[in-house]
Symmetry: C2
């Protein structure tokens, strides 16, 4: 999760919402990415989607069986379903996302028995650091915005 | 939907599950793609995800407000949530996907009041052609496979 946090800090430095993710196979990091939605002009450029693309390229297959994903924020429904598509073994995440989480908060897509694969879920790892990074980012965004005229 | 069907046929010719998609703004097609999961080794390379990336690049923004998406198959939960992220106005789809659909069949992600945007859904357009293309693809896959020894 430390590597995922480093990625999240890179995102913040680039003006992106700080979410970072890492893919691990065995004891080796095979891919590491962060949110790039603004820079890429891509609504799907969340850390997890970019990560799965990078990991698929590294392994030469879209089937990422046995791969574990570490991500600083609870995946949204898009990313949770992407983890299922990729046959990810375990997703480990930091902070909960009560407004849009697709794994615990609003949906439980990684463990839905109707889908063709289940991803084991471990939550709350380094949750405080992950959450603090997000809070700091949004505080600094508000501070740099011009004051409301109303 | 005819352009989306053309894209789906291209996918089949490339050995990919035949799903095609088109993005329209005003009366202009701004992006058109098809499923490329096998070729790209990317579990997220569904037609819709590729389409939103292409449309975002065309418009220089991940916010695709006012854009309509035509897709031959009901979007999966990943793609349905991606349409919500992109602020798509309307999604028009052909065939239902009773096993994995994220818009009507298993989930109703495009119309979920808890998410921060709602996408209007129109279903069943050219459903027979869209469905027939998929059926033909899976029949030909079975025919080219060696017979089961059991």
């Amino acid at each position: 999760m430390q590597a995922a946090l480093e990625e999240a800090r890179l995102a913040a430095a680039e003006g992106e919402i700080p979410v970072g993710a890492v893919a691990v196979l065995g004891n080796r990091i095979i891919a590491r990415t962060h949110n790039r939605r603004e820079q890429a002009h891509d609504p799907c450029a969340h850390a997890e989607v970019l990560l799965l693309r990078e990991a698929g390229a590294a392994l030469g297959s879209w089937r990422l069986s046995g791969v574990d994903v570490y991500v600083t924020l609870e995946p949204c429904p898009m990313c949770a379903a992407a983890l299922v598509h990729a046959r990810i073994r375990t997703v480990v995440f930091g902070a909960l996302d009560p407004k849009a989480g697709g794994v615990r908060s609003l949906f439980a897509l990684c463990e839905d028995p109707r889908l063709n694969h289940r991803v084991e879920v471990i939550s709350g790892i380094c949750a405080e650091s992950c959450s603090e990074l997000l809070q700091q980012f949004f505080i600094s965004l508000r501070e740099t915005r011009p004051p409301d005229a109303s």
